[in-house]
């Protein structure tokens, strides 16, 4: 019922020109320039729409329009995907896994999309993964964090261009132990579902490895969207923890800050918010100074100062009058990954439109550039991306919030090697981490 379908044709004037040229061109050129239909699945309603889904959709629109217009900097200067314009078909991710599986089937079987890019919820990713394989359609997960996707199974048609949540929590543990070498006790407040539980388990395991003998205080697991954390904040305040880990996102993260800050929680403990960057964008100086913030990768304030990043920030801000938060970055990263794979496959195919199998072959083990820097499809037999990440501490400067003491962690330090499960890797003491 909440599904909102909107066919967004983002063919710009240049794409139109391409289409007109195709009208008089030979059949092979017409085939090459036939629009590439991409199903984009992201939250357009519900609690995850504002912080994640809408920025991701906006990122997709900015990227598709700029790519079709040939306005993206090198190495993506060719229009569309290998000359063919991109057409986006948006689907709302809200409604649960059963609905998402049906929507995915609709995209593939009814709308006949060439590929699907999407999914923020780990639950949706776990549900859609086997269906993508069953329907044999190229599918790219852009955001969901559960490492279980490629650690528990292998896929041919499925790729994920964003790093897993293991990276977020391992790097968070590294950051706080480096920042507070004398820390004696840590605690957590995470949402009671797969994302929150996995995040806490990884962080807890990493802390015990990095700081043997460290005390674990309370682990609060309120219900997703609980909204009120009075008792949890009291429990955290009485726990005496030096560090409090939280993978809260969206309204829950905002509520924790709005309720915790007046009661002194952020002064008493160092709060680590692994997915805190969209909240920082939303709340600005309301986020107390000294909060440790992550962006689930090198995005927004952690992004490198390169031409792709400068282009994306400007294009996004010009269109939406806000800075792009990490879901927008990750969506663009996925689209650029597909473009890199598509054009590599097209080049290998003598310049003709590549088949899906050729795109998949080109995508495996691919390295490509995004606005967040280099991405390596190094895990899951070349289907799962690894990427470095960064953490920093909030500081208010001149009435504006900024992030200081930024530390960067290369992928090799915060990600298990291929074939090793995240949990085992952390418990082994990050073996092979450089």
């Amino acid at each position: 019922m909440n599904t909102r379908r909107k066919l967004v044709t983002v063919a710009t004037a240049s794409a139109l020109a391409l289409g007109l040229a195709a009208f008089a061109a030979p059949a092979s050129a017409q085939e090459k320039e036939k629009p590439i239909r991409i199903g984009v699945v992201t939250f357009l309603s519900g609690a995850a729409a504002g912080p994640f889904g809408v920025p991701a959709r906006n990122g997709a629109e900015v990227a598709a329009e700029a790519l079709n217009g040939g306005k993206v900097p090198a190495p993506y200067t060719a229009a569309g995907l290998g000359g063919a314009p991109i057409e986006l078909l948006f689907v709302d991710e809200a409604g649960g896994t059963t609905k998402q599986v049906n929507e995915f089937r609709n995209l593939v079987q009814r709308d006949n999309v060439d590929l699907v890019i999407g999914y923020i919820s780990s639950g949706d990713c776990l549900a859609v993964a086997p269906v993508a394989e069953e329907l044999k359609r190229l599918t790219v997960f852009f955001d969901c964090g559960t490492p279980r996707i490629f650690e528990d199974a292998s896929y041919k048609y499925l790729f994920r261009t964003g790093a897993t949540a293991t990276m977020d929590n391992t790097a968070a543990a590294l950051y706080v132990t480096e920042m507070k070498p004398a820390l004696k006790k840590f605690a957590g407040i995470n949402q009671n579902y797969a994302w929150g539980q996995d995040s806490w388990n990884d962080f807890e395991a990493a802390m015990k490895v990095l700081k043997p003998g460290v005390d674990m205080g309370t682990s609060q697991m309120p219900k997703l969207l609980a909204g009120q954390y009075g008792a949890e904040i009291s429990a955290l305040l009485t726990s005496g923890a030096d560090v409090v880990h939280s993978s809260f996102w969206g309204g829950d993260a905002e509520a924790l800050i709005l309720q915790g800050a007046p009661r002194g929680l952020f002064k008493k403990s160092t709060i680590v918010m692994t997915a805190g960057e969209p909240t920082l964008v939303r709340l600005g100086t309301q986020v107390p100074e000294g909060t440790v913030i992550g962006a689930r990768g090198p995005f927004n304030m952690f992004a490198p100062d390169n031409e792709l990043n400068r282009w994306f920030r400007k294009a996004y801000e010009d269109r939406y009058a806000v800075v792009p938060s990490y879901p927008a970055y990750k969506m663009v990263q996925a689209i650029l990954g597909v473009k890199a794979a598509w054009e590599k496959a097209q080049a290998a195919n003598g310049g003709k439109r590549p088949s899906q199998d050729q795109v998949i072959a080109a995508f495996e083990n691919l390295s490509f550039e995004g606005p967040g820097g280099k991405v390596d499809m190094a895990l899951g037999k070349g289907h799962q991306a690894v990427q470095g990440t960064a953490y920093g501490i909030t500081k208010n400067v001149g009435g504006k919030v900024t992030v200081v003491n930024v530390k960067r962690y290369p992928a090799s330090r915060v990600t298990p090697p291929d074939g090793v499960k995240s949990e085992e890797w952390i418990k082994s003491g990050f073996k092979t981490a450089k």
């Binding site: 357009l44 504002g50 309120p222 609980a226 949890e232 009291s234 009485t238 509520a255 709005l258 309720q259």
Partner: protein, 298 residues
């Protein structure tokens, strides 16, 4: 180990919030025999209106303390606009129909209101945090609490006392109690049942919106915030007994204290604890703690 004082205070604060919402729900059920699924959306509507008004108030640079009055104004606005529209526009055509049909009708209102909220406010979150920290903190035991939370408890008590006073000491209230006991006899005795329904639904809507408005400064006002609250409010009124005012108070207190104790002592079972209590109460008292004895109608 957390002190018992923290458990009690956290529990009472949470109970106050639950009570205000559950009171509206139980009042509507008691009088109209409608399990109002749209109650959560009306709560969300109160929160959105409060967030909007408070945002405009502070943007205009007006006296910060005036923003507290906006919370009551938001509840009033939602109550007198949304309540009559829903009751006169839809519900009055459904009276006398099966309770299940009425649940479906209010569920459809819930879905419509969720989309209305999305149409008006979009999917972005809204914050109205200024009033929450405005009154400062008080230390109780070793922990700081905001004065705003204490205010929430005071408001809940005042609302409970006011509703009790109206129901037991005023003519209108006594008419309403008569309708609660028997609608048909009340109508036969000359009570304008339609008018009682109209007033009850408007007050119930106002109470839902008041809950939302009071909570707006503490939370991020986001889509779907009404979904969570309706589940909790149902738990409260089921424990207390559907349609019972003291039941709503006791139910809210039980849920609040049990949840608080779970958070402090055994956070793993926090989610489960509320429903465990609900199940235990229903085993002993299937119609809730304060359910009235019913005459069997032949």
């Amino acid at each position: 180990m957390a002190s018992l004082v923290s458990v009690l205070i956290d529990g009472i604060i949470y109970s106050s919030y639950l009570f205000i919402i559950a009171l509206g729900l139980t009042l509507i059920y008691g009088v109209m025999k409608i399990l109002n699924m749209a109650h959560g959306s009306l709560y969300a509507l109160g929160a959105y209106v409060a967030a909007t008004l408070i945002g405009a108030w502070f943007n205009a640079g007006l006296n910060p303390y005036g923003s507290l009055a906006l919370l009551a104004l938001s509840a009033l606005l939602v109550g007198v606009i949304a309540g009559p529209i829903i009751e006169r526009g839809l519900l009055r055509f459904m009276y006398g129909k099966d309770e299940i049909v009425l649940i479906l009708v209010t569920y459809s209102i819930f879905l419509i209101l969720e989309d209305v909220i999305k149409l008006i406010w979009g999917v972005e979150s809204y914050t109205a945090f200024q009033p929450y920290g405005l009154l400062g903190n008080i230390d109780i035991g070793a922990l700081p609490y905001t004065v705003y939370d204490a205010l929430l408890v005071v408001v809940a008590v005042l609302v409970g006392v006011a509703v009790t006073f109206v129901l037991t000491r005023t003519r209108q209230g006594k008419l309403l109690v008569a309708v609660i006991h028997d609608r048909e006899i009340s109508a036969a005795m000359g009570i304008n049942v339609g008018r009682v329904y109209f007033i009850t639904f408007t007050i119930g809507t106002m109470l839902a919106a008041l809950g939302g408005a009071l909570i707006a400064p503490k939370v991020s006002v986001v889509p779907a915030m009404g979904v969570e609250v309706i589940v909790l409010a149902f738990a409260v009124v089921v424990i207390g007994g559907l349609g019972s005012l003291p039941g709503a108070a006791l139910g809210a207190l039980i849920v609040g204290l049990v949840r608080s104790a779970a958070v402090h002592y055994l956070p793993e079972v926090e989610l489960f604890s509320i429903y465990l209590v609900m199940a235990l109460v229903l085993i002993v008292r299937p119609k809730g703690l304060f359910s009235a004895a019913e005459a069997r109608k032949i």
